[in-house]
């Protein structure tokens, strides 16, 4: 249910711009660190495409959940 209410903030490979971190209420370094860890822990490289939702959920390109940015301190 929560995911249906959330919107997509980013759906590309590489490092998202600072606006995505701001939309999530995260500092840019904290956000980059969290995304790096989620991708690496999912056996993905930085070049792999992920989808980031406004509730912090990160999925792979096929929509499979990988983690939530708000879980990474």
């Amino acid at each position: 249910m929560q995911r249906q209410r959330s919107r997509i903030l980013w759906t590309n490979p590489g490092n998202p711009p600072g606006s995505v971190a701001r939309a999530l209420g995260m500092g840019p370094r904290h956000f980059s660190r969290a995304l790096h860890k989620i991708k690496a822990a999912s056996d993905l490289s930085d070049a792999d495409r992920v989808v980031i939702y406004s509730d912090g959920l990160v999925t792979d390109a096929q929509g499979e959940p990988l983690g939530n940015l708000h879980d990474e301190d």
Binding site: R29, S32, H36, E72
Partner: protein
């Protein structure tokens, strides 16, 4: 004083072993450190309070050094990984056991380096000694550096 990892840590390293046939317990039997995340392919695991329970896309043993090494110097994080793999400079026993598991499980080793510099700061280099040390694992190194 706050003891948990800082959210603005500038540098850390991740080490992972991954493959569909990998049993992470075999890696844990060799490396004397608790992984940040470990699961077999298809195994359910708790990814966090917000993410809840997820299923492993592949078998993985994953370690991030940010909560283990309290330093913003990437070199300190690389040293930690090197010392984990080589308890003594000439002791290749762990590396050889890991290589055997990876070969048997058709799996790979990967290292990523994260670094965020302050304006004007020069990005660090990966020491040749570290690259040479991980050659036996045939691990690739990915760098995520930005200022």
């Amino acid at each position: 004083m706050k003891t948990e990892a800082r959210t603005d840590r500038k540098a850390f390293v991740t080490l992972r072993f991954a493959g569909d046939d990998l049993d992470p317990q075999e890696i844990s039997a060799i490396l004397p450190v608790a992984p940040t995340r470990a699961h077999r392919k298809g195994e359910a695991f708790v990814a966090g309070q917000h993410a809840g329970k997820l299923r492993g896309r592949t078998g993985i043993w994953f370690l991030a050094t940010d909560k283990l090494v309290r330093s913003d110097d990437l070199g300190d994080h690389l040293d930690f990984v090197r010392d984990l793999l080589y308890p003594k400079p000439s002791d290749v026993s762990r590396i050889m056991k890991l290589r055997d598991i990876l070969e048997r499980a058709h799996s790979r080793a990967h290292i990523t380096c994260f670094w965020r510099g302050d304006p004007g700061e020069t990005a660090p280099q990966i020491p040749a000694g570290f690259k040479s040390a991980i050659k036996r694992l045939a691990a690739d190194i990915e760098m995520d550096f930005a200022v």
